[in-house]
């Protein structure tokens, strides 16, 4: 799987200067999906899906139930191996790469059902987020304890700061399993930010969340985007999508039906047909 990654390209991961130069040569497309295909037996779930996500946008991926949105997320993030097509993140071909390899190239995802980390407090669960921690090497725990301690202190401070920004710092030492669904979504978003993603894939970030927390989540996503994080989100809450995202990509039966600004999507007849089943179901 690793072979699929074109290692000569990822200049973006080296330093800020290189990244800027590299970005300019990539037409500002952060994620490029071309002709992606996936079938489970005879059931074609992703059918030559093609789209791009531009750097700095909040792009929404919508579609009726069964359109293949979550499968597409799994394909892009490496959890499923595509039958055909390519996925390019930041100019690097990550088709068929392992999820951790995709994440290493700056693509971090969240899950539709927020994951509870049993036996961990919120701040422990948050501390899993930062990438390439020296203390994640078993050997360095014994050969470089000073470096491990310094990095851990820095990460703990970052966790405290981000929890405060998300206004959930009072939950820091609570068991992660005690949180409500909405609080878990906030923790998941906050943790994903600790990984410093270039592009964040949010799978139904406000599903089952009360209106107050939903607004809070929308504010946080907007704020993260303003800070430079590109977002691609799946969501069924149309009000949330239309107020937050631009552009919107509509998926139907595994293919991209159309894409454009929210206002155009809302008045697009083919989209209405897809949602209401007007396509001759």
């Amino acid at each position: 799987m690793t072979d699929a990654i074109e290692t000569e390209k990822p200049a973006a991961d080296t330093d800020a200067t290189t990244r800027t130069n590299a970005d300019m040569s990539k037409d500002d497309v952060l994620l490029r999906v071309e002709n992606l295909q996936k079938a489970f037996g005879a059931l074609v779930v992703t059918d030559h899906a093609t789209f791009e996500v531009e750097r700095g946008t909040i792009t929404a991926l919508i579609g009726p139930n069964g359109a293949g949105k979550s499968t597409l997320f799994n394909l892009v993030s490496g959890f499923y191996e595509p039958d055909g097509g390519t996925v390019t993140v930041n100019g690097v071909d990550v088709t068929g790469a392992e999820p951790y390899e995709v994440a290493e190239h700056g693509l971090i995802r969240t899950f539709q059902t927020p994951r509870k980390l049993e036996g961990m407090t919120v701040r422990e669960a948050m501390l899993v987020g930062p990438q390439a921690q020296p203390g994640e090497s078993f050997v360095k725990l014994f050969t470089s304890p000073g470096a491990v301690a310094t990095a851990e202190e820095r990460n703990l401070e970052r966790v405290e700061r981000i929890l405060a920004e998300f206004e959930i710092d009072h939950l820091a030492t609570q068991p992660a399993t005690d949180l409500s669904g909405g609080q878990l979504k906030l923790v998941e978003l906050a943790r994903a930010m600790l990984a410093e993603p270039e592009i964040l894939l949010l799978d139904e970030p406000v599903a089952g969340v009360n209106p107050t927390l939903r607004n809070k989540l929308a504010d946080q996503i907007r704020r993260l985007n303003e800070q430079g994080t590109t977002c691609l989100l799946i969501e069924h809450d149309m009000e949330f999508v239309m107020s937050l995202a631009d552009p919107v990509i509509v998926l139907d039966r595994g293919s991209v039906l159309t894409e454009g600004p929210p206002s155009a999507i809302q008045s697009d007849d083919t989209v209405i047909d897809a949602y209401l089943g007007g396509g001759g179901v």
Binding site: Y100, E118, M120, Q131
Partner: protein
């Protein structure tokens, strides 16, 4: 806070369960020392039992670093234990068909390397799959290793076993002659019943010293590893491997590290056993050992190093304590069935009333100095009861 610098503060910080366990252990130790000094319990036998208990504690630590930390189901504890024991015995035993008579340190290294190699070999095809596959594979591995040891006589001596294994320190300077140099000490606590601590006592003391080195090293390594980003990552994998992958962690590599580490610790227990018992045979690889070690880890609390230590000692206390039941004439049950009954009952009681184990992990998996320096307003001791599965009060 250290127990030596501030014993009262240390005691105050303990949860109710920890105080109960500490008090119970204190009573047991007091009773044993009394029995030892009055001659009710043979000193050498007592130290041999202590060595056996420590050996189970080592095995429990090994399984805990696989199952407790990472959620890896290993049903071949006995196999890795056997690899350690046979690795050491084949290098040092008098009747070894391969290479007897070598220095025990060579045996130690061979035992550990053998276990690591087998762990990697079994891990490569199974650790990318769901936990069930590792469980099935290790179940098979335990039998394969046992049958190889039993049937490949040209390498292992088969059912005759390997005898003439030297004690670990036999050829060492100073320690090699320690038992001969040390004088016999006579203690007469009960008038007319003197207790003599002679050569066999000093020999068993050396074994206990070796055990404490092995056990202490394993415990300290695991303690440091657990309360670190590495340990935290393993816990994340145990709870939700997909999440760890999505956050850019190579879970396969970490599972392999955890599996190999645990297997090597199990082999360390095997090496110790070979030099404690001075004889190994295929019966030492029976699946009952795996069963006892699982009981110890569940009893102590999955993920807890202290729990694993406690569980190991409790299991040996039941296993060996039940031998004396035969002396009680009015009891209609033999020691062997009573042993299994007691362990089964214990598991049911723990599962019913304290499913998290007696001493579950309570500290946050954060580098200790970082909590003190970066978040002094939120010390991790504040979360101990919650992490332990509810208040102990």
């Amino acid at each position: 806070m250290s127990v030596l610098s501030d014993p009262r503060g240390y005691w105050d910080e303990l949860t109710a369960t920890e105080r109960g366990v500490t008090a119970a252990l204190g009573l047991v130790v007091f009773g044993l020392v009394l029995a030892l000094l009055t001659g009710a319990l043979g000193a050498s036998y007592f130290l041999f039992l202590f060595g056996l208990a420590g050996m189970y504690a080592l095995l429990s630590l090994g399984l805990n670093s696989q199952w407790g930390f990472t959620g890896l189901i290993n049903f071949s504890v006995a196999a890795f234990f056997g690899l350690g024991a046979y690795g050491a015995a084949l290098m040092t035993a008098g009747n070894s068909p391969i290479a007897g008579g070598l220095n025990p340190v060579v045996g130690l290294l061979v035992g550990l390397v053998l276990a690591a190699v087998v762990a990697v070999a079994i891990g490569i095809p199974t650790l990318r799959l769901r936990a069930d596959y590792l469980a099935i594979a290790t179940l098979g591995l335990a039998e394969v290793i046992r049958l190889i040891v039993l049937n490949e006589r040209q390498w292992t001596n088969g059912s005759q076993g390997l005898r003439g294994i030297p004690t670990f320190f036999e050829d060492w300077p100073v320690l090699g002659t320690f038992t001969e140099v040390m004088p016999a000490i006579e203690v007469e606590l009960v008038p007319g019943s003197p207790v003599v601590f002679g050569t066999s006592f000093w020999q068993q003391s050396l074994n206990v010293a070796l055990l404490l080195i092995f056990l202490g090293s394993a415990f300290l390594i695991l303690r440091r590893a657990q309360r670190s980003p590495w340990g935290r990552l393993l816990r994340t994998i145990r709870s939700d491997e997909d999440l760890a992958k999505a956050l850019g962690k190579n879970t396969y590599s970490y599972k392999m590290q955890s599996f190999v580490l645990g297997s090597v610790i199990m082999a360390l227990a095997g090496v110790f056993y070979a030099h404690l018992n001075l004889f190994v045979n295929p019966g030492d690889l029976d699946p009952i050992t795996t069963f006892y070690v699982w009981v110890a880890v569940i009893l102590g609390g999955s993920g807890s190093n202290r729990g694993a230590l406690l569980g190991g000692f409790v299991v040996v206390a039941i296993r060996e304590g039940s031998r004396f039941v035969g002396d009680i004439a009015w009891l209609p049950v033999g020691s062997a069935p009573l042993r299994l009954l007691a362990i089964g009952l214990l598991i049911i009681l723990v599962m019913r009333f304290r499913p998290q184990g007696i001493l579950p992990p309570q500290r946050e998996l954060i580098w200790p100095s970082a909590v003190d320096n970066a978040a002094p307003s939120r010390p991790d001791r504040g979360v101990r009861d919650a992490k332990g599965g509810g208040s102990d009060d």
